[in-house]
Each structure stands twice: as structure tokens, then as C-alpha cells.
Amino acid sequence: MKRWTLWVPLAVFVAVVALAAWRLTDTGETVVKSALVSKPLPEFALPAMVEGKPGLNRTDLATGKPRLLNVFASWCVPCIAEAPQLMKLKAAGVQIDAVAIKDSPEAVKAFLSRHGDPYARIGDDRDRVVQIGIGSSGVPETFVIDGQGRIAAQHIGDIREDDVPRLLKALEDAQ
């Protein structure tokens, strides 16, 4: 064997160690982001989740004014944690629509009466058709939709206090 080839295994190993070391400094739950950010929302039409509140179509999200689309469920614990922030956003004049994942009208009604109702419309997405259709992989997630119905930004996980200003800015940028 040629002399320099004897050192190739060591070189390969060093590269592997470097890669592993880099990855170790960066572990965390793998978060799957939507690939539709900056792309238009796909067409959809969901029936109403609770009576008294309309269902959700794509056209409702392309009204000319940026809105938030919140993916939630009554059985989702972090959704309870983010409810106050959503109310805060609503109080600041933000329009918020929702899709409820794998839920029932009674449970959602109970959730809304207990934790507040920041939503203008709630779509019944009990088969996750819209959730998968927009590239969301869990609850809760919040999407910033611009006036033309494009997904401007995605927020994964519950909305914390310090996320509120960031979301407000994203809504402004989407004008």
C-alpha cells in the first residue's frame, strides 16, 4: 500500500469526531419546521368547531390584513399556558383564527370558557388535514399569515411573554 494511504483512516476518523463534537454542542429535540414558510397557504375549508363561531377557509386568511393562525387543541397542556398571551395579542388588536386538532365541540367550548377566547374563527381539523397541509407537526404552533394569504413566519411551541413583541413585529413586517 502507498505510504500516505495509511493515514487516510485517521483523517476520516478525525472528521467524524469533529462532526460528532459539533453535534454534541447542539443537541435538542429535533424540531420539524414547516417548509411552507414564505409560501402561499394551500386551499382548504374547515367546518365550524363550535356553534356560534364560523369555520375557517383559506379566503378568510387572505383579507388584506396580516393575521395569526393558531394550531391548538383542548387536550394540549401548553395551549393552556399560552392562552393569556393570545388574549394579550387580541387586546393589542391582532386578529387570531384557529384550527382545533382532533377535538370535539364540547371540549373546545369548555376550554374557551375556562381559558379565554381570542379567536375570530375556529376550524374543525379533527383529521389533521389542514395541520399537515401547512406543514405543522404538533400543538401548539402559531403562524403569521400576511394579507395575501402567505405564511410569513412560524412559531413552534407555546407563546411565551417574550414571544409577544416578536410576533407583533412579524405581523408588522408582513404588512
Binding site: M1, L6, P9, L10, V17, L19, L24, T27, T30
Partner: protein, 644 residues
């Protein structure tokens, strides 16, 4: 008390390992005979102490000592005895202690039984073994002690993950660890030989039985693990190219190449550099596997609870040991004299091809497993799974099977092409017939499955060719071992191809009494009833199945959905009925709003051949091992008699 004794035994073992390393290093350097003489006993004592430590951990589990954190996290007083016994290795700390114990016992075994190797190389080998052990003792004692106390003691434990409460799985880790960590012996031998520059047939003959033994354990461990996943996880698959599965396969690939390469070194003094490299790579793959499974950098259903700080510790150990051995390789192997030459068409040539193809497959598996991390470094998230591995490694594996059929028929040093073709007529004809037949009978079958079936048939016949025209009872045991192992590969491959090509699956929302059809079987769900076990309760389906005439013999399947209390989990227990020509596999799902039960049914023709073949491969290895040991003993006796 017992926990403290276990910890003390571990500290002592580490101290002895340090001494062993120092004595080996100084003894060789200073050519100090007494120091060198003390290395062997030290290795034996170290092994005994590590074994004692592990034994005490087992005692803690058997006694359900709830004042020890590990027992609380992984056991429960109501657990059946077998799983209390297997509890120690169902978690990170305990399995790491088992890892280190096997490492120490391997060193003790070399010290006790290795008689062929020259003193200097043996001392260097034991020194290397102690050096490796030290790092892992340090890891255990500093970052993963299994003996930490809980104060105040818990009332009872949190139980063992129900998926692990299975007799097969109880013994799968120890078997695998004897394999993985047994390869450390080859690694240490290689390091020892590179230090003393004594690489030759004697070295090869000394290393060979240890490689074979580790390889047999690894083969059994992987085969058993695959069968366990198949019947326990309930989706009818037996290999998913999951990172942890790959972590077990990579050492096996390297060890397979190594055990063939070492034969060339022993018989013809050839392939020195390859053999040394493979010996280093095999155990390096074991260590890389340990790192992958415990560091959390890759997601897997099989991974242990994740901790990046532990991962960093292991990575540092890897860098030192593998980096060190590879650096030693670069520095020393250039000056290892090459052995005798040989033609391309020769047994050596065939074995070079074997080494090459196995190494390519190893490389593909390694790259595929690590690629998601590399992609992440490039800013992209992607997944690499069965479609890649099957497409990339599959064809190379088929080439390897073809080589396996031809190789044992070749002569050493140089062979004649025409003579070879004559020997191959029968296997090749059979292969072609099988391929044509399969294509005719089932035209929709994929090309890889058709070729695989053809090659399996050809290999099945060709593997017996070395026995042709020999007196069977006088054929050496290690030749029988080769024959059976290669035949086992053919059997296993046939099973894999049949499973891939001919499995039928049916998914139904079953009403009681209504017949459903899967493959040639007529299946009926008669009822679902509650059932209770040691530490679980379940709903059990009564499924009857028959094929042929409606009133023909019926088989009964009882798939269950089990609910465990601690930890609260529910699992599906598949019901499997094994027939001569395949397995009928049934899994019970949930009940829907109409009262129908989800029932998932498979008919898998000849699937059991996969693991039966694996067993044959291990048997072949064991026969080879016994055969080589017997031959060595006979040679030693003859030499002694000649000297008298």
C-alpha cells in the same frame, strides 16, 4: 453495604488496570522481567473484581434494594424474577458496567488461555487492554455510577419498560456485549503487534479463536435482536436500518472481514496491513456504536436515555483510543514487510474481494447513519433510512454472496479459470433456473429479490462444494464450519428475499365471525376477552385461521393489547403461528365506534429462514472455533512429541 462493596470492587478493578498498564509499559520499556511477569496475574484479578462488581449489582436487583437509585428507576418488587435478573442491563449505567466487566473478563481470558503468542506481544496486548479499560472505568466511576444511593429509600420502583420484559430481550444485551467487547481482544492484539512489530502467521493463529468467539456471540446477538424486534414491536419488520441497529451491524461487518483476513495471514502470511486495520476497525466500530447509542446525537427507538455530557466523555475516550490506534497504524504499518504475493484468481484474491466488499458495505452503513448529522451541519434536515440502505448496500451484498459461492472453491496462490468454471456449472445453472422460475411464477417481483433468490440457491449448493469427494468424517471441523456458515448465509438470504417479495398484509376493521383473507388463509375474529398476567392486564382476541378446505385444520391465534401498571404503558403482543412454509402474524388494534376491532394480519412465507440462517451462521462459526482450537492442540502435541 452491597452497593458500597460493588463500588469498591469497581474502584479496585480500576486501580489494578492502572497498575497493569504501568507494569506492561515499564516492563517492556525497561525489559524488566518481573514487571512483565506480573501483568498476567493483574489482568486475571482485574477481571475477577469487575465480575464481582457486576455480580453485586445483580444481587441488588434480585433483592429489590430500593435504596439504590438504579434499582428504583428500573425495577419493581412485583417483577418476575427473570426480569429482576435482567434489570441491571436494561439501562445506561448497568449496561455500561456490563460492558466494562466483559472488557475486563476478556483481558483475564487472554491472560489465562493465550499460550501461543510471544511474551512481549502478549504483554503489550494486556497493556492495551488495560489502557482501554481505564478510560471506561473512569467514565463509570465519574459519570455513570450504577451504585448511587437514594436517601430516603423509595417505597417501590418504577418498573422495567414493558417492552424489555421478554425472555429473548433479557439475554440479548449480554450476548451482544460479549461480541462487541470481545472484539477488544483483537484490537489489543493488533495494537500489541504494532508495538512489537511481530505480525505474522503466529500472531494470526493466536488472534483467530478470539475473533471467532466474539463474532459468534455478535452473530447470535444480532439474529436474536432482529427476531425479538420482529415479534415484539408488532409491525412485522425485522430490520429498519435504525442507527442503533446499524451500530450493531458495523462491528459485525468488520469482524466478518477480519476473521477471513486472519485466515490469509495465518495460512499464507498475506494481507498483514488489511488484517491489522480490520482488527482496529472492528472494535472501533463497537466503541463508536456505544457512543452513538448513549450520546443522543441520533434519534432511535432503541437509544438509552440521553445525556450530551456523557456523550462528550465517551467521545474523548474514542478520540484517544481509536485515534491512537490509527496513528500507530500510520506510523508502524509502512514498515511491516508485505507477505507472499498471489494471483488475482486465487483464494487470497477472493478473500481480498471479500474484505473489499464487506468494507464497502461497512462504509455505506457508516456514512448513511452519520449523514443526517452532516446534513444538519450544512443547514439541512434530512432522514436516511431503508430506501437508501437497501438500494446502496443491497447490490454490493449480492456481489458478496456471489463471491462467497466462488471463493472457497479457489486454490491458494493461483487458480485456473476453466477449472473454476467447471466447478461452478451446477451452482450457476441452479441460480439461473431459480431466477427464471421465480420470474415466471411471480412476474411482479422486484429484480433484487429475484437475483437474491437465485444467488441464495447457487450459494446453498456451492457452499457444500468444498466437501465434494472428501471423506466427510475426516474433513476438519473448521471446514465444516465454513460450509455450514456459508450455507446459513444462503438460507438467511432466501428468507429475506421471500419476506420482501411474497409477504401479504391485510388491515381490517373486523366484526366477530366474519371471514377475512390474507394470502391463502381464511381468518376469523371470534371474540375479544379480558385476560390477566403477572404485572399486566390485557384484552385478548381469539382468532382462528385455516387454509384449503373450509373445514380443514384450524390454528388459533391470541393477539393481545396489554396494559402495564408500572410504568403505565400499553403494548401490542403479536400472535404468531409458525408453519412449515411461513408465519401467520396477527396484531390486535383498538376498537372503533362501531364495535369493530382493528386487526392487522400478515402471511410471511419462509420468513423464519432469516433467523434460522443466522443460527446456522453462528453454528458454523462455533464449529470453526472448536476445530481451530483442536487443530492447535494437536499441532502443539505433535511438536512436543517430535521434540522428545
Amino acid at each position: 453495604m452491597i452497593a458500597e462493596a460493588g463500588l469498591a470492587a469497581l474502584w479496585l478493578a480500576a486501580a489494578i488496570a492502572l497498575m497493569q498498564l504501568a507494569m506492561a509499559g515499564l516492563g517492556l520499556r525497561l525489559k524488566h522481567d518481573e514487571l512483565v511477569a506480573a501483568v498476567r496475574p493483574a489482568a486475571i484479578v482485574q477481571g475477577a473484581l469487575a465480575a464481582l462488581s457486576f455480580g453485586l449489582l445483580i444481587v441488588l436487583f434480585l433483592r429489590s434494594d430500593m435504596s439504590v437509585v438504579l434499582v428504583v428507576q428500573n425495577s419493581h418488587s412485583a417483577k418476575p424474577l427473570l426480569y429482576k435478573f435482567a434489570g441491571p442491563w436494561g439501562n445506561h449505567e448497568g449496561s455500561m458496567l456490563l460492558w466494562v466487566t466483559v472488557l475486563a473478563l476478556a483481558g483475564a481470558a487472554i491472560a489465562l488461555f493465550e499460550k501461543k503468542l510471544d511474551r512481549a506481544t502478549l504483554t503489550a496486548t494486556l497493556g492495551a487492554q488495560a489502557f482501554i479499560a481505564l478510560g471506561f472505568y473512569a467514565f463509570l466511576l465519574v459519570a455513570s455510577s450504577p451504585f448511587t444511593r437514594l436517601d430516603p429509600p423509595a417505597l417501590d420502583g418504577m418498573g422495567l419498560n414493558p417492552l424489555l420484559q421478554d425472555p429473548g430481550l433479557a439475554f440479548h444485551p449480554p450476548t451482544l456485549y460479549f461480541g462487541y467487547v470481545g472484539l477488544s481482544i483483537a484490537f489489543s492484539f493488533a495494537v500489541g503487534a504494532m508495538v512489537t512489530r511481530e505480525v505474522g502467521p503466529v500472531f494470526a493463529r493466536a488472534m483467530r479463536p478470539w475473533v471467532l468467539a466474539a463474532w459468534v456471540f455478535l452473530t447470535i446477538g444480532i439474529t436474536a435482536g432482529s427476531y425479538w424486534a420482529y415479534y415484539e414491536l408488532g409491525w412485522g419488520g425485522w430490520w429498519f436500518w435504525d442507527p442503533v441497529e446499524n451500530a450493531s451491524l458495523m462491528p459485525w461487518l468488520a469482524a466478518t472481514a477480519l476473521l477471513h483476513s486472519v485466515n490469509v495471514l495465518a495460512a499464507r502470511d498475506g494481507l498483514r496491513a488489511w488484517t491489522l486495520m480490520l482488527a482496529v476497525v472492528a472494535f472501533s466500530m463497537s466503541m463508536v456504536g456505544t457512543f452513538l447509542v448513549r450520546s443522543g446525537i441520533l434519534t432511535s427507538v432503541h437509544a438509552f436515555a440521553v445525556d450530551p455530557t456523557r456523550g462528550s466523555f465517551i467521545l474523548v475516550l474514542l478520540a484517544i483510543y481509536i485515534g491512537g490506534a490509527l496513528a500507530l497504524y500510520g506510523a508502524r504499518v509502512g514498515r511491516v514487510k508485505a507477505g507472499q504475493g498471489f494471483d488475482l484468481l486465487s483464494r487470497e484474491g477472493g478473500l481480498v474481494l471479500n474484505n473489499l466488499l464487506l468494507s464497502v458495505i461497512l462504509g455505506i452503513v457508516l456514512i448513511g447513519t452519520l449523514y443526517p448529522i452532516a446534513a444538519q451541519a450544512m443547514g439541512e434536515q434530512l432522514s436516511v433510512g431503508p430506501p437508501f440502505f437497501n438500494k446502496a448496500a443491497g447490490p454490493i451484498a449480492l456481489l458478496l454472496v456471489a463471491a462467497m459461492a466462488v471463493g472457497p472453491l479457489l486454490n491458494w496462490r493461483r487458480d485456473d479459470f476453466n477449472a473454476l468454471l467447471t466447478k461452478l456449472t451446477v451452482p450457476v445453472t441452479l441460480s439461473v433456473l431459480v431466477m427464471a422460475g421465480t420470474f415466471a411464477a411471480a412476474p411482479g417481483t422486484g429484480w433484487m429479490e429475484i437475483v437474491a433468490l437465485g444467488l441464495a440457491a447457487g450459494l446453498a449448493v456451492a457452499s457444500f462444494a468444498p466437501l465434494w469427494k472428501r471423506k466427510l468424517l475426516r474433513t476438519p471441523l473448521f471446514t465444516w464450519g465454513m460450509v455450514i456458515a456459508h450455507f446459513g448465509v444462503a438460507v438467511s438470504l432466501a428468507g429475506m428475499a421471500a419476506d420482501s417479495a411474497f409477504t401479504s398484509e391485510r388491515l381490517v376493521a373486523a366484526r366477530y365471525g366474519q371471514p377475512y383473507y390474507v394470502g391463502p388463509w381464511r381468518v376469523v375474529l371470534n371474540g375479544v376477552a379480558p385476560v390477566v398476567g403477572d404485572n399486566w392486564s390485557a384484552v385478548e382476541g381469539r382468532v382462528t385461521a385455516s387454509r384449503g378446505p373450509v373445514d380443514g385444520p384450524m390454528i388459533l391465534l391470541r393477539p393481545q393489547r396489554r396494559f402495564y401498571a408500572s410504568p403505565p404503558t400499553d403494548t401490542a403482543e403479536a400472535a404468531i403461528s409458525t408453519r412449515l412454509d411461513g408465519q401467520l402474524y396477527a396484531v390486535l388494534g383498538a376498537q372503533d365506534t362501531q364495535g369493530r376491532w382493528q386487526l392487522r394480519l400478515w402471511w410471511k412465507p419462509f420468513v423464519t429462514l432469516i433467523w434460522f440462517g443466522g443460527g446456522l451462521i453462528a453454528l458454523g462459526g462455533a464449529l470453526s472455533l472448536i476445530g481451530r482450537v483442536k487443530r492447535e492442540r494437536r499441532n502443539v502435541k505433535r511438536r512436543e512429541e517430535a521434540e522428545l
